[in-house]
Amino acid sequence: MLCSIVPPDLLLDLGVDARQLEQASVIRTQRTLLAAAQRSLNLRLTLDEEAPGLLRTIYDAGHGSFGSLPGVKVRGEHDPATTDEAVNDAFDNAGRTYAFYKEIFDRDSMDDRGMELVSSVHFETDHNNAYWNGFQMIYGDGDGEVFLRGCFPKLLDVVAHELTHGVTDFTAGLVYSKQPGALNESFSDVMGALATQYALGQTADQADWLIGKGCFGPAIAGEALRSMKQPGSAHPHDRQPAHMRDYLDLPDDGDPRNDHGGVHLNSGIPNHAFYLAATALGGYAWERAGRIWYVTLTERLGPVSQFDDVVEATVAVAGELYQADSDEQKAVRSAWQQVGLLP
């Protein structure tokens, strides 16, 4: 059955192949139902029961769109490298992200049950984006103007950012709108930065705290997509606030200019708070600040958590993990004060 908000006759007018559409729609529905059932019943497929651990599969979408996802399988977990750089980059960085979560937080993939890490590269032609669709990673190639070709799967912080959306889906479930959406974005940036620092062996003061460094092409001419150290300074169009006084109260109205109520904009505030806490503590940021944020994300938040809820939860978690009035709790409290979320 064709299930769509747009009447089928209009779709036909617009030249959509109804049969292809129906197949894609059915497959998607089945996948969604399966994933939802697994989540709500806390079950694993029997077939997967004995196979926890790292399992990566990379597909080539062959420049096709949604109808061609995931595409042709080009590399499995035990296969050698291919001649396609995007395939190998997506494979390697999914592995580094898995290793970060497993070695630091003892988390077994996004669902903590060994979920297969599926990635499709070469999505559409010159596509200027990378995202997580609830089941898998999708990487465009970039058009070489706005984004450099191949930069999305090449950058570990981009890959870990996207896979962290999966972790958030399976834990806090923060809705992708306004403050919960900005928190969802911020946890992805935080874990993206930490996975990169872990892979490079960098301490908090050695790290650049940039997200997507070197990914912009000549049309943007910016250093990075975002800066956690100095939100708003990463590129000429960067509007990220670093403090609550500059919070952008945008509607979540489907207007692309409003970005789901500013999710990629207001994330600058919690991003900067994490940077302040991590650099105040010094050493490896994933060890203390990272652990406080991870426990908060996976155990203390819900779908509609607001900035204030994260402030309260991180301060409480810091006290539980490291004692009340410990350096850790003081650093977290001070960080939220500096971005205007605590008096």
């Binding site: 007018d13 030249g15 984006n129 995202y131 997580w132 058009d143 207007d255 692309p256 970005d259």
Partner: protein, 95 residues
């Protein structure tokens, strides 16, 4: 016919705008835009669901030769085949 495409909400958090005017295009491109825009004025203002994290949000505005205009917003989705073709025909800011 003028087609304006605005995209935002993607991983980079950028807002990119492209405007295409069929009067200023080679004939075959102009035909492609007109074909892709067939049925556009009958679409509701919002089509499809809200989309996923970092998925591009797109707004297309088409102004016909009489100056009548219509705007449609959507999160890129497999059900929106020729809206994507219209974005491509107009010069594709984001994909």
């Amino acid at each position: 016919m003028k087609v304006t495409v605005v995209q935002g909400g993607g991983f980079g958090g950028l807002v990119l705008t492209t405007t295409a005017d069929t009067a200023a295009m080679p004939l075959d491109d102009a035909i492609r835009v007109r074909e892709a825009a067939r049925g556009f004025f009958d679409l509701p203002a919002v089509v499809g669901g809200p989309g996923h994290a970092d998925q591009l949000l797109t707004e297309i505005t088409v102004e016909d030769d009489e100056g009548k205009s219509h705007t449609v917003r959507f999160a890129q989705d497999e059900r929106l085949g020729n809206l994507a073709a219209l974005v491509r025909a107009a010069g594709r800011p984001g994909g």
